[in-house]
Symmetry: C2
Subunit: 514 residues, 2 copies
């Protein structure tokens, strides 16, 4: 057994069964070992940003890490933007980055770069394996970090000589210490706030937004009158009919401040205080009302379910009945494509138990609140702000849940960052329907120019926020990667296309021309 084989055996032994791969010459022994690793499913991607984003989507749905296989420093660099998004989402992943044999580094060959510097800039845990005898143990350590409750980005650099040298076999699984990270003092003060009658907002993040913890939060709300909310972006929310609905703290600074203004207490579970996404001249970064008190019960990566259970007991809300999302009135999706008609189509058309990966920045901001009455589903959002998240994350979510439909909502500008994901969806036969909201501009920038105090943009500047010349033809792009697509121009057409796309297995694309 060589080092690469011991690495793969360690991975599959620890339950890491999926690898999103962009291999190169330096990963040749890993590649050859794949054929001798029966428990491993490898999906080829055409660009590392797809591999990294897929690992994020996979983790969110599987609750365990996937691996990526990347080619030296530049391969890791191509994955970094979506690794950043995963990191901010609390998704763990094991990045295996091939490198030159150690003896080759001194010659400064073309692909040599500051690989360790790059890896440290994006990873919680970075290690370069020194010998083929060590690599299995190193892999076990990486998997422990990536698979912990506070899941981390673990990057293992695999030099050629470590991959091809001899190994005595796989290493056993290392179990991470999963501290609940609950702050007992904050828990007590939160309970007092909830019982004290002052307006209180309970903000949930991470795994506290699954149906079970949400039900508990709903009971606390029913008993104490607190409002339950999520940040504007969340890693995964189980929502829809029959689930406890949560308010969403607005994205823009002024509405967010207005939303938060009434609350004298903020209780945070698996998330932190609401902060502005960007910095603006003359606007605050911290959005809570002056004098509002924060109760950080547990941080991201803590045990939010246990925190909510303890809180529920302290406020004696076990017997309360949570208010759940009623079934919405259906129909009404007619005429021009507007935020309302788009939302009508989605509310009626999202199939039960689907996974909605939402990166429709401008469109989604308006439609989200209008789709709460859809059938029960999971929504995944971009947590790191680096666009090009949704097509890869949808790919990974579909790999994790082959029996669920995935609906990917993405703006045209964002989609073009990682459009190569469509090809992997076609190759793996994944049930992903991609909806491109094509407004032919980076509309969010036009909105932000006023918020920034930069004034109205002139013609040369506007050229840098517009993508209408030439117009992107997403149906042609999808065809180029083996995915059937249609373009729709009104609500009826959108509803019909969505129904057809979801009726048959395999990837589809709908270009919604706004």
């Amino acid at each position: 057994m060589n080092g690469a084989e011991s690495l793969l055996a360690t991975m599959t032994g620890a339950g890491v069964e999926t690898c999103f791969a962009n291999p190169g010459t330096s990963e040749m022994h890993f590649l050859a070992a794949v054929d001798r690793a029966p428990g491993l499913r490898c999906a080829l991607t055409l660009f590392e940003g797809v591999a990294a984003g897929a690992a994020d989507g996979y983790f969110r749905m599987a609750d365990k890490p996937a691996a990526t296989l990347l080619h030296l420093g530049p391969g890791l660099a191509n994955g970094m933007a979506n690794i950043h998004n995963a990191r901010r989402a609390g998704s763990g992943m094991v990045n295996v980055v091939g490198d030159h044999a150690s003896a080759h580094l001194q010659y400064d060959a073309p692909l040599t770069s500051d690989l360790m510097g790059m890896a440290r800039a994006i990873s919680h845990w970075t290690h370069r394996s020194q010998t083929s005898a060590d690599v299995a143990r190193d892999a076990a350590a990486a998997i422990a970090r990536a698979g912990a409750r506070k899941a981390e980005i673990a990057t293992l650099v695999l030099p050629g000589d470590v991959a091809w040298g001899p190994s005595s076999g796989p290493a056993p699984l290392v179990r991470a210490q999963d501290d609940s990270r609950i702050d007992a003092h904050a828990l007590e003060s939160a309970a007092r706030a909830l019982l004290g009658g002052e307006p209180t907002l309970v903000i949930l993040g991470g795994r506290a937004l699954r149906a079970g913890p949400l039900d508990i939060a709903g009971r606390i709300g029913a008993k104490t009158g607190c409002v339950v909310a999520a940040q504007f972006f969340s890693a995964r929310i189980e929502r829809g009919v029959g689930r406890v609905a949560v308010s969403r703290i607005p994205y823009a600074v002024d509405p967010a401040i207005a939303f938060l203004k009434p609350f004298r207490h903020l209780v945070m579970i698996e998330t932190g205080e609401p902060v502005a996404f960007f910095s603006y001249p003359d606007k605050p970064s911290l959005l809570k009302a002056d004098g509002a008190r924060s109760h950080q019960v547990c941080p991201a990566g803590g045990d939010g379910l246990a925190a909510l259970e303890a809180l529920c007991d302290l406020v004696q809300a076990r017997a309360a009945r949570a208010q759940v999302q009623p079934r919405a009135q259906r129909g009404g999706a007619r005429g021009p494509l507007t935020p309302q008609s788009v939302a009508d189509v989605l509310r009626d058309g999202l199939p039960e138990n689907c996974i909605l990966v939402d990166e429709s920045l401008t469109t989604g901001r308006e439609t989200y609140a209008l789709t709460g009455g859809a059938a029960p589903h999971d929504t995944l959002q971009n947590m790191g702000g680096s666009i090009g998240f949704s097509p890869p994350a949808s790919t990974g979510a579909a790999m994790a849940c082959p029996d669920r439909k995935v609906v990917c909502m993405v703006g045209d500008g964002s989609a073009m960052y990682t459009i190569q994901a469509l090809w992997t969806q076609a190759r793996e036969g994944l049930d992903v329907t991609t909806i491109i909201f094509a407004n032919r501009r980076y509309q969010i920038l036009n909105n932000e120019s006023v918020n920034m105090g930069a004034g109205a943009l002139g013609p040369k500047s506007l050229e840098l926020t517009s993508i209408d010349r030439p117009e992107l033809d997403f149906v042609a792009l999808a065809k180029g990667m083996g995915v059937p697509g249609v373009r729709v121009e009104d609500a009826e057409g959108f509803a019909d296309a969505l129904a057809r796309a979801l009726a048959a297995p395999g990837p589809k694309l709908i270009e919604v021309r706004l």
Copy 2:
């Protein structure tokens, strides 16, 4: 004048007139300032890898840096692979990376990352501007580094408050100290070697591969009998009919060793000793013959022209006559697409004074030697080994040389990394003809598996080197981004398509189905 305006005025004042941009909210004041910077041409890209690769191609043809405009850490990360390629090519560029205002960083907003760590891992020079009063001076320092003879990657981080705060105006140009970096001792020993009669190889890199220095090298060759060569990859070679042809040191280790075996002396000018691209079990990294002596006359970034002139005088070769590439016999491009017939088409079809950007890994390795007899042209190659170089670099080369035709040769696997470049070519009306060599696999990996001693790949492994399922349709992909394309399946079709593509202005794509 605000900080962003002072930055742009400093750039245009110093001759940095082109910016490849992927802006976001944090770059809003830079964006607004573009309208008040009449000397600046901004080209929007759909992905930062295109912006960075375009800056590389621009530098190689313009001999001066372009700027990139990138959005925080993840935007820089998306550009890093092609920044790596540029760095290895000795191309300078000024990366302006927008960031949160400094006061906002403490809140760890979603797009916060280790931006400085990322920047340092890829840049020669990294600086975060502290105040709006400083940024013009900081920009001048960045431009000096990027525009020096030993050109560097200069990354300037522009926090929001620095962009929107007040400035007293632009800063004057700083001139870099351009040392010739010629080693007088190595120059003398090289001259003695050349006159001594032992087999000597003169290896040229960087600007020493332009027509002028090549003519001098050709005289030295005619006088002394030395062989003049280039590394397998070079940043820019002026070649074709009437120019001094250089041998190319092979890519694969065994042929490279065989090529170098006869030479007792290596004279290196603007490049170093030939080393293996990758490390392989039981193969050396350093390729020269045992006992061969190296004469490093000047390193990359040195004054190769001055070095060659001095060497020419020392060996008294001024009056010698360099042997130049004769006109090749034309015609013969018929039948199936083979390395020979592809090369025949290119040799006959490349227009005089065109720029050939060559990243056709498997195909190009065989065709290059067969196209020396084409009309005079410049060839640019990928110096860093991170694929996805050629479509962006072609975009930048066309921006630098609007009166020259650009021919981009790229394999299907490489093209998919940065296929978004086609859209910028269409938007800017650039004269780029992209030739996709579609063999539907990462053929180079299949070749390398044997070299690596990893054995023949099994079926699961082969899936990771093959991109034939589904087949990529590059004509559809091009249509999706506004570029007309055709598919060809034989040499006559290829020749016809190339002639048609080059006859009319604007971008085109030819999918050569191998």
